[in-house]
């Protein structure tokens, strides 16, 4: 049975924050409706979803208005509501797949004799391809998200909430999860989905609700009507509105001087021997399935890993007199002046307590005078729309802000070559567009650029050359 949702004048302010995360929301969702919840980043979509799931503890903030699920306050109606979050790693509880689905059933006191029957039914509904003894650690990201969905569906929720369930997945994994959603969600289950990749979400929904960042609801109705009226504004705010392409930025001419040469460069068992050259003024995209060794190649090219096989040679153009030694043996300050690396998870790279210090760190480490440091940091802050956040702690930034900061930190030492691992991963359309513009400008100014990516649109918009890796042959004796 589906659940009906009534939201009246709802607002929530996290403890210790000045602004309201979400405010003035009035919303009525009937049983069995499928709703896509949109809004610019920071409009409070995730907060509203957490409130609907009854997961905002009274003492963690201030609230106004009411939320009722089938006539009961959301905090008391939790047994009828299921929620799937973004990150598969922090949703799975148990070591074995079946145990994980059983976890929720055990918590709700489902009689012992019914548990495995319901586990198997839920696994079948999401199309889980393995036996229930399969270790959860051996699943791909997409399979883990399918399992998380099964764990929620086993509880037979009347209201299913999905908070960007495919944002942390590669395209193959995201397709797996969408297929599972399409086959597993009943016609009478009420669904509220947050997802900024609209084109992929549309087949699942029949209604679109747009949250206004300042509070209230901007638009509500069938997808076609909402996008006809608000499509342009939404696209400008970062929503991936379907049918709006971004013009590509190709290099004006062929690549310039060679910066790096890799000969049979590899890292058994993760990366097979690979040959490639990296040139100035050229954007090279490294593609390949999960497990093909793309991130490993990025670390090797970034001088951050000692090559297992083969050789990586820098040219005097990149490294001057140091060209005779391999990049992984350079001192860190020398490395960071020549090759900048942007990691998949921006938080791994943060070292200091404020955005300003974070940007100043590289220049200071490489002996740039303090007056120049200030100018350079001010320029970067302005360029990447971080100027209002100069005093903020890097760990408190939103996903898009953290990504922009991590790119800016790599640029602060003005390296000739920039290596990015999934730079556009999970980004909204606005940040995505800014990244493409920024990287294209760098390339056109004569920098070399290597991007490891799954993002086909990013490749289409920027890459001058692509290299597709194939996974190393499987270990003949798996243990």
């Amino acid at each position: 049975m589906g659940a009906g949702v009534r939201v009246r004048g709802f607002g929530w302010r996290h403890a210790g924050r000045r602004g309201w995360a979400v405010r003035g929301v009035d919303l009525r969702v009937e049983c069995g409706e499928k709703v896509l919840l949109l809004g610019a980043s920071g409009a409070g979509k995730s907060t509203l979803l957490a409130a609907l799931a009854g997961l905002l503890p009274e003492d963690s903030g201030e609230h106004e208005g009411t939320i009722e699920i089938d006539g009961r306050p959301a905090t008391e109606a939790r047994d009828g509501v299921g929620i799937v979050f973004q990150d598969p790693q922090s949703q799975l509880v148990m070591a074995r797949s079946g145990d994980d689905v059983a976890f929720g059933l055990e918590n709700r006191g489902v009689p012992t004799g019914q548990i495995w029957h319901r586990v198997d039914e839920a696994l079948r509904r999401v199309g889980f391809p393995y036996h229930r003894d399969r270790p959860t650690a051996a699943l791909s990201g997409g399979e883990q998200q399918r399992l998380a969905l099964a764990g929620v569906l086993a509880l037979r929720p009347g209201l299913l909430l999905l908070d960007e369930p495919t944002a942390n997945l590669d395209p193959t994994g995201a397709a797996l999860v969408r297929a599972a959603l399409a086959r597993a969600v009943d016609a009478d289950t009420t669904l509220i989905l947050v997802e900024h990749r609209v084109a992929e979400a549309l087949p699942l929904v029949d209604r679109v609700v747009v949250l206004e960042p300042g509070g209230g609801i901007r638009a509500d109705g069938p997808p076609e009507a909402v996008f006809a009226a608000h499509g342009d504004a939404l696209a400008a705010e970062g929503v991936w509105v379907p049918g709006r392409t971004i013009p590509p930025r190709r290099a004006a001419g062929p690549g310039g001087e060679v910066l790096l040469t890799a000969e049979r460069l590899g890292q058994p068992p993760r990366l097979s021997p690979t040959n490639l050259t990296v040139r100035a003024g050229e954007a090279l995209a490294v593609l390949g399935r999960n497990g093909a060794g793309k991130s490993t190649l990025a670390l090797l090219l970034g001088g951050l890993l000692r090559p297992g096989t083969g050789r990586l040679t820098a040219t005097p153009e990149l490294a001057g007199a140091d060209a005779r030694t391999a990049p992984h043996r350079w001192r860190a300050p020398a490395l960071t002046r020549r090759i900048g690396s942007v990691f998949q998870n921006p938080e791994h790279q943060f070292v200091t307590g404020t955005v300003f210090d974070e940007l100043a760190l590289g220049p200071r480490r490489t002996g740039v005078p303090e007056s120049t440091v200030h100018d350079r940091v001010a320029q970067l802050l302005d360029r990447l729309r971080l100027d209002r956040l100069a005093a903020a702690n890097p760990y408190t930034l939103s996903g898009g802000e953290a990504r922009r900061l991590s790119v800016a930190t790599a640029l602060a030492t003005a390296p000739r070559l920039l290596i990015c691992d999934e730079p556009t991963f999970g980004q909204d359309r606005r940040t995505w567009r800014e990244l493409v513009e920024l990287l294209a400008d760098l390339r056109d100014a004569g920098h070399g650029l290597v991007a490891v990516t799954h993002d086909a649109e990013f490749v289409a918009a920027l890459a001058d050359r692509t290299l597709t890796l194939t996974p190393p042959a499987a270990d003949p004796v798996p243990r």
Partner: protein
């Protein structure tokens, strides 16, 4: 790499016993040994432990791999005693200036090393043959440990192997930022502390998200918890025992 998987051969008679019973037996066996000082009692205990090894289905080679930290500790004991023992009685075996090795020193060292092995091996065997999920379930059902603690710890434990990978990524990311300690020990310590801090921040965030996801699936519902019977193939006799227990006693207190 931290492995959590049990290494027992399936079907070994003692490996599939109730984890709480195994743990209790190991403690009963090991604690009295702490009070012995002679080398003979622990030697007999070790012989007994090795003799029951086949009943647990643990291959001696695998046990040795799991127990390697004990070997390191034993080496430490030996070196410390040979260098610093006060009692230098007995026959002099080696006289190299300040270091005098006597039979008395060797007997004391041997006693300590054997005691270390005798006390630690039962624990190693129990954990090597126990599935962590079974242990948590059994602790809640049989030892009345609160589910919030036992299952919470189990879920947190599953995230431990991730920390190793995170540590490597953070270290590498710092080099990319131009942060490197070089040979200066103070700089090394500071880098270590700041890397650990970053790791901790990430771990707390992930732990918080996991806790919310667990509560979203009713972990804090307050309803008396039930237990999925372990599939017969996987846990053999334990399954039958537990099914009987739940059938007669009904759901246990959470």
């Amino acid at each position: 790499m931290i492995t959590l998987e049990p290494i027992a051969r399936p079907g070994a008679p003692l490996a599939r016993r109730n984890p709480v019973a195994k743990l209790a037996a190991a403690m009963l066996f090991a604690f009295p040994l702490m009070t012995t000082l002679d080398p003979v009692t622990p030697a007999i205990a070790i012989a007994v432990e090795l003799a029951v090894l086949p009943l647990f289905g643990v291959h001696p080679g695998l046990l040795a791999r799991r127990a390697w930290p004990l070997l390191a500790a034993a080496g430490g004991i030996l070196v410390t005693l040979v260098l610093f023992a006060a009692d230098r009685s007995g026959q002099v075996l080696l006289d190299a200036g300040p270091i005098v090795v006597t039979s008395g020193v060797l007997v004391t060292a041997l006693g300590l090393v054997l005691r270390l092995f005798a006390v630690a091996l039962p624990g190693v065997i129990v954990f090597a043959t126990t599935d962590p999920t079974d242990l948590a379930d059994a602790l809640v059902q049989n030892a009345r440990v609160p589910a919030r603690f036992a299952i919470g710890a189990l879920a947190a434990f599953r995230l431990v192997p991730l920390l190793g990978q995170e540590w490597q990524m953070i270290t590498v990311a710092r080099r990319a930022r131009g942060v490197e300690a070089g040979r200066n020990p103070v700089a090394r310590l500071r880098l270590f502390v700041s890397t650990a801090f970053t790791l901790l921040v990430g771990a707390i965030r992930r732990g918080t998200r996991l806790a919310v996801a667990m509560d979203a699936r009713g972990f804090d519902s307050g309803v008396p918890r039930t237990f999925a019977p372990p599939p017969a193939v996987r846990r053999g006799r334990l399954a039958a025992r537990r099914r009987r227990a739940t059938a007669t006693a009904g759901p246990h207190w959470p």
